[in-house]
Symmetry: C2
DNA sequence: AGTTTCTAGTTGCAACTCGAAACCTATTTA
DNA sequence: TAAATAGGTTTCGAGTTGCAACTAGAAACT
């Protein structure tokens, strides 16, 4: 009488390769519409009907995504005081912290997909000058590419306190 | 005899909000498994069966994703010379250029999802010190948050050549 | 030469997710 | 009180995912 195991479809990405937190990040943000909703939030949209109109997403899917984003702590939901029909969705600190990722993805799209620099341009409010391309920086500010990176065990990390040679190379990231 | 318009399901995200290249970037990279395949590529995996084993993805989905990534110019496909059964998938420059985005997402996951710093750690090969957190930098290197950013028309961009005040504020990005 | 194994797929099927439209409930507003 | 608005939920057809089985071409073994 052994029940056939109900096939577990859509296994969470997080279970694959526990060493890396990328799969966990993708669990919520990897879904269709998640980044578009995030972008709309950064642009000052807060209400269900606003997202609906701006994104052209189906109501049920929007409802589902907002719930998931709230569950993940990326948005928080609060009833409006002045109009109790309305609910406000606002970015949490966790959500706000996705801005560099979102801009990196946008810049990549700008460079490789659309080709032309988008208009309007994202600038530093203080001096009205365009922000730098998002890049990988060494502790001293040098820009790094995949050629310059490798993974080492946390125990072999050079904190700058000592300066001797270590032996714990694990793997280069680049293979091109 | 007017044919009812065949419902266009899964309208490309790119058609929404043409001003921004984020939707275009998400067209390929927003799909489930795309970033995981990218990460595996950065880790030196090049062959179908390697991806299959590493990711635990279904064969047909992997086949589909690899095809899409090749079509988008993120991977390139080349038959192996030493073993003509094999096909090599390698990152193109366009694919390699997604590294900052991927690391930004990974760092976000590390901070907000897994909590603990991942091990092994990504370091600058030169001095074995951990890379900086990916962040948004002004032209002079100051770290910017969403409070500091706004969008302006490209015509009102301050290039540094002139230094007078401009009037073309379009929209602040932050609303918290 | 003939069989087996390996690589990279394709096909078929069941479960699941998406999208569009209709429906529901609690507030405002006219 | 009737109508409009805000934020959902339900229903259903179509598309996508996941698994297993099958296929085709190339290499390895006997």
């Amino acid at each position: 009488m052994t029940q056939p195991t109900p096939a577990k479809l859509r296994e969470p990405l997080a279970e694959i390769a526990a060493c890396c937190s990328l799969p966990q990040a993708l669990e919520t943000m990897g879904e269709r519409w998640s980044f578009m909703i995030l972008r709309a939030s950064f642009n000052g949209l807060h209400h269900f009907e606003e997202f609906l109109e701006e994104l052209g997403i189906a109501r049920n899917i929007l409802s589902n995504r907002l719930t998931r984003l709230v569950e993940s702590g990326i948005l928080k939901r609060a009833p409006c005081i002045d109009d109790r029909r309305k609910i406000e969705y606002r970015l949490t600190d966790k959500g706000l912290d996705l801005l560099p990722t979102m801009i990196a993805l946008r810049q990549w799209g700008e460079k490789w997909e659309s080709g032309v620099p988008s208009n309007p341009v994202l600038v530093d409010e203080r001096d009205r000058r365009a922000i730098q391309p998002i890049s990988i920086l060494a502790h001293d500010g040098r820009v790094l590419t995949h050629h310059d990176l490798c993974w080492i065990d946390i125990a072999d990390l050079n904190t700058g306190a000592v300066d001797d040679d270590h032996e714990g190379v694990v793997k280069r990231i680049a293979t091109i």
